[in-house]
Symmetry: C2
Subunit: 136 residues, 2 copies
DNA sequence: ACTCCCTATCTGCTATTTACATATGTGTGT
DNA sequence: ACACACATATGTAAATAGCAGATAGGGAGT
């Protein structure tokens, strides 16, 4: 969850450090697959287009996560040779995957609440307009 | 960012997997230090009390992050022997730390937006009340 | 004195994950 | 033949959280 031109900070490390919410990829994939069974490449594009991910998510991460979801029985896949272009592995969510998605929604609500708690305190001190000043 | 009784899933792994927002500890520490200079132990308690963290954050992580923030010049510290109990290392935020905090606020707003995008789509499908059904 | 517990800090280790780079192969247009 | 977009996969490095455990001071109770 980065989507940067590698901006560097005082310590010469990417300032996206820490911005990543580990595992958020999985519920995103499951949600999109619930809406429409499709293959990895399109899932990547959808995530970017819909604003679920800043920039295009890492292809390696997407494919690996899909494979792992399948190992755990949360999605199923089959090769689809119909249609143009190279063969695609088409994924669909399983009932177990839907359960898992619901669990994740709870977690995500909790995480959002923590971020909101942070931002509430932050804005109490600095105001909501602080980010405007930083438009460089 | 866990704070569970280790609930296990189908794959025998903690279902908090992925719930952790990497690096979120740092902006939390900086924000609290902006509000009040204090020592690691109290920061841990504050994070829990204020709902910035689910449960008490890991002590090792807190102390290590404070040390790293100091290496990077974002906080300063000195030993405080006055007061009861063992010596405490009292931290205070630096001007660079405040800058860093502002950068983080931007990142956190972006992350919150991604979570909201997810939840909006999710709730469009399942409704906001889905989590109620799961009250076990 | 002695033990127990709370406060307080620090370190070692491991599992997991992301981000990046790279490899492989198909089909289409020129 | 060639370039290019589509599509999937793997190797590797860096970083972090979580857990366990070590070290120590100081107060309360016996």
């Amino acid at each position: 969850m980065c989507g940067h031109e590698p901006g560097r900070r005082r310590d010469n490390r990417c300032d996206c450090r820490g911005a990543r919410m580990e595992g958020f990829l999985q519920p995103c994939l499951l949600l999109l697959l619930y809406e429409k069974s499709t293959h990895g490449y399109e899932l990547m594009e959808s995530m970017n287009r819909l604003g679920l991910w800043e920039g295009v998510p890492d292809a390696g991460a997407v494919y690996r996560n899909l494979r792992r979801l399948e190992e755990e029985g949360l999605v199923r896949s089959h090769w689809s040779t119909s249609g143009p272009g190279p063969a695609r592995r088409r994924y669909e969510i399983t009932p177990e995957g839907v359960d898992y998605l619901h669990d994740w929604a709870v977690t995500i609500r909790r995480n959002k609440a923590a971020l909101e708690t942070f931002l509430r305190r932050y804005e109490d001190i600095f105001g909501q307009d602080k980010e405007m000043e930083k438009g460089d």
